[in-house]
């Protein structure tokens, strides 16, 4: 496997500075370095090497508190995140009731916070632990306003992005099957999908009765070897990271591939602060805080690619104020920070008695779902009549997953006040008979959801921080109600019993804004300069040698988890940057 050898030494000047090392920054560095461009990657967090650091076969007994969550590890001890809802010294502001408050570690289903922001301060960013769901957006997802009059069309079409989906899929490695479902495009490069588990087959059969197609999931997990990466061996949870490179993360693929070219330097512990301009208003570098010294440094470059995550990128641009750009760089249209979206999230649990006392067998698989239920255009149109114009997919966990601290208590809650030999028998009986269905749905951008700089609050280095305005609209609330009803129908048609009735008040069953980690839209692309922050090539309208490679450019946020599209658009943007600098349409700083 390729190694992550990085060096703290750096040149005085680079062709391009890439900010961030996750899906966006990783892909940008790869695309540029492969093309012969000299790149410096700045990562705000520390160096991280999955080969040395991933707890692959550890049991929960190998972790403090049996691997339970605690405030600084909100997804549990083994989760491959350094960071989470709170990063010490780097606050953000949210509305808690009517008042502003610092974003805190909260239960995202119950919090009064209007917004939650997950940050990973490590090489590879959130790709080290992400869910690996890899769905192409469909043609309609690029033209939502033309389709139903809501939201905004993209200035690019599916056909323009499709070649980059193809290239990206060949680098990433995604399993799936060709299904031909409208607006849920297939890939010619799908790897074989793993076989379904028993409970998934029951859900699939139930879905058939309801007219809900249930098909193999599409995940960035190798089922065949790829260069430097081993195929999945169907053990250990992907959220811990993957030392063998089977579950895609930039630290075992894009970054080592880019390092192999000799064209990439990686600088960890370098927190980008502003983009700097020359006298003609062209970007000429980036200022950053060296976290090991606390000092501000500057690196010069001919172009800048921002892939810091949509919100951090917006923050860098808002903080890049100058006489020419008093409201921040890229903000002459006033759109910087606006049109912020997240995916909706909701879930409902149940149990399927047919699964009790199951003959023992290993259901680990790829640790995420092997099947899922995409939304078809027909079902979406039907849902629109119930006030939910935009779709969601249904996925799940369940069956004989690796037992953690909470697994058997859930079984015993069904069994009652048993103890002794009876407890052990009932635990075996009920273990594996539970399912938990969840949905990820599209949010339509709205006026009330945006970020801006807080007028007072600064981080530990004195840089202004973000504050968040966020509201779900009636469209998302109706979508949650619809999803809740669908969950109950699916569980019941699979022969199951729901844990509780579908939520009548969607707000009681909905994730907090931002907490699905699909923040998009704050530097959206547009066909006209007055309508957005970047052009269709992801370049700032106000400064075309600054490219936004992350989800900030998204004009819609459909139920197709964004990572694959982020990577495809990042690659496309880098190709256009190179072409523009070669043909002189983008001028380099002096």
């Amino acid at each position: 496997m390729a190694h992550l050898k990085t060096s703290k030494s750096r040149a005085a000047k680079y062709d391009v500075v890439v900010v961030g090392s996750g899906a966006a920054g990783g892909m940008a560095a790869y695309a540029l370095a492969k093309a012969g461009v000299k790149v410096l990657m700045l990562e705000a967090g520390r160096h991280y090497d999955p080969q040395r650091e991933t707890p692959m076969f550890q049991s929960f007994a190998d972790a403090p508190l049996r691997g339970s969550a605690y405030p600084q590890k909100p997804n549990g001890y083994f989760d491959a995140t350094i960071g989470g809802w709170v990063v010490e010294g780097e606050p953000y502001m949210v509305k808690k009731g009517a008042a502003w408050a610092e974003g805190a570690v909260e239960n995202r289903m119950k919090t009064e916070q209007n917004f939650m922001w997950w940050r990973a301060r490590m090489l590879g960013g959130r790709t080290n632990h992400w869910g690996r769901v890899s769905l192409r957006m469909g043609p309609l997802d690029f033209k939502p306003r033309s389709t139903d009059g809501l939201g905004f069309d993209w200035p690019v079409s599916y056909e323009e992005v499709a070649p980059y989906y193809e290239r990206t899929e060949q680098i990433v490695g995604i399993f799936g099957t060709k299904e031909g479902i409208e607006n849920n495009p297939d890939s010619d490069f799908f790897l074989p999908a793993p076989k379904p588990r028993a409970y998934e087959l029951l859900l699939q059969r139930g879905g058939k009765k309801l007219g809900i197609p249930i098909i193999p999931a599409r995940m960035a997990i190798l089922t065949k070897p790829m260069p430097g990466r081993a195929p999945c061996f169907y053990a250990t949870p992907c959220g811990r990271g993957c030392s063998i490179g089977a579950a895609f993360q930039s630290t075992t693929s894009l970054i080592p591939y880019a390092l192999e070219t000799g064209n990439l330097d990686v600088l960890p512990d370098a927190m980008a602060r502003t983009v700097t301009l020359d006298a003609q208003g062209r970007a000429n570098g980036v200022t950053f805080i060296d976290r090991t010294t606390g000092k501000e440094e500057h690196v010069a470059a001919r172009a800048v690619v921002l892939g810091a995550s949509a919100l951090e990128t917006a923050r860098i641009l808002l903080n890049s104020k100058s006489a020419k750009h008093p409201q921040g760089l890229g903000n002459s249209s006033g759109h910087l920070g606006r049109w912020m979206t997240d995916s909706t999230g909701t879930n409902l649990g149940g149990r399927i008695p047919a699964l009790e006392n199951m003959p023992l067998h290993n259901e680990d698989g790829v640790s995420t779902m092997h099947l899922y239920a995409p939304m078809t255009v027909e079902r979406q149109k039907a849902a629109a009549k119930e006030g939910s114009p935009r779709g969601y997919y249904v996925a799940w966990s369940g069956g004989r997953t690796m037992p953690s601290l909470g697994t058997v208590p859930a079984a015993l809650a069904v069994a009652g006040n048993v103890y002794g030999k009876k407890l052990k028998d009932e635990a075996r009986r009920y273990y594996g008979s539970f399912v938990d269905l969840h949905a990820r749905g599209e949010m339509i951008p709205n006026e009330k959801s945006f970020c801006e700089l807080d007028p007072e609050k600064k981080d530990r280095w004195g840089t202004p921080v973000l504050r968040f305005h966020f509201e779900w609209s009636d469209a998302e609330l109706a979508q949650i109600t619809h999803a809740q009803k669908t969950f109950a129908q699916l569980i019941e048609s699979a022969g199951g019993i729901v844990d509780k009735a579908p939520a009548k008040d969607p707000r009681t069953a909905m994730t907090a804004g931002g907490s699905v980690n699909h923040e998009m839209g704050v530097t959206r692309m547009s066909s006209r300069i007055e309508d957005g922050v970047t052009n269709a090539a992801s370049q700032l309208w106000d400064c075309p040698n600054v490219v936004v490679a992350d989800g900030g450019v998204f004009c819609s946020n459909p139920f197709k988890n964004p990572t694959l599209t982020i990577m495809a658009l990042a690659w496309r943007a880098c190709d256009k940057l190179i072409a523009g600098m070669k043909d002189g349409t983008i001028s380099a700083p002096t």
Partner: protein, 203 residues
């Protein structure tokens, strides 16, 4: 679904606990952050280092072991709770400097003290020294509707059982006792076995 009144809330809470660490996180009602003497934001995940001292007294440890083994005895599928480190886990848990664990510690400490006091009252010896038949009688009294013992100790009993069972069934020995056969590398994922398909009526 049908569920027995007082249990329904905790059942819902418990169901939220299953499956994933993030689901676990959601249920634990985390509030505190930069805790002194805690695990920190960036621990070495390949090591298990507990920075806080264990705080069970000898008497608490003894009572916890006796109760854990009454709840989870040895059988043909696996050893008793205390044989796989459940008492040490409980000690680690109740001694942790986080809100969730501190709340649990109060309930568990008070419950173990009540158990010994009640056992001494009834049998003239602490719970751990009582005969299994005596321990069983006491626990059954805690579980019986309308008793004084239930009023005093039922919520403790539920919490203790869930933590002890959680601690037991998250170990490799507990996995075997439960029938979990995963966490083993495979060259191919075989999917549902013919026996499994037959069991659920799909073959």
């Amino acid at each position: 679904m049908q569920s027995s009144g007082p249990l329904s809330l905790s059942r819902r809470d418990a169901l939220r606990l299953i499956f994933t660490a993030s689901a676990l996180a959601a249920s634990l009602d985390i509030t505190a952050f930069g805790v002194e003497g805690g695990l920190g934001a960036d621990p070495d995940l390949l090591k298990k280092e507990i920075p806080w001292p264990r705080t069970f007294s000898a008497a608490e440890k003894k009572a916890a072991a006796a109760l854990a083994d009454l709840l989870i005895p040895a059988d043909e599928h696996g050893p008793a709770a205390s044989a796989v480190g459940v008492v040490d886990f409980l000690d680690e848990w109740i001694s942790a400097p986080y809100d969730t664990q501190e709340r649990d510690a109060k309930v568990i400490r008070a419950g173990l003290a009540w158990l010994d006091a009640e056992s001494t009252k009834r049998f003239a010896k602490p719970f751990a020294d009582a005969a299994v038949a005596e321990q069983t009688a006491l626990v059954d009294d805690v579980l019986k509707e309308g008793t004084e013992a239930r009023k005093k100790a039922y919520s403790f009993w539920r919490l203790f059982r869930d933590r002890a069972a959680g601690g037991y069934y998250s170990t490799p020995e507990g996995w075997r006792a439960l029938g979990y056969t995963g966490n083993a590398p495979l060259s191919e994922f075989p999917g549902a076995t013919p026996e499994a398909l037959k069991h659920v009526g799909l073959a």
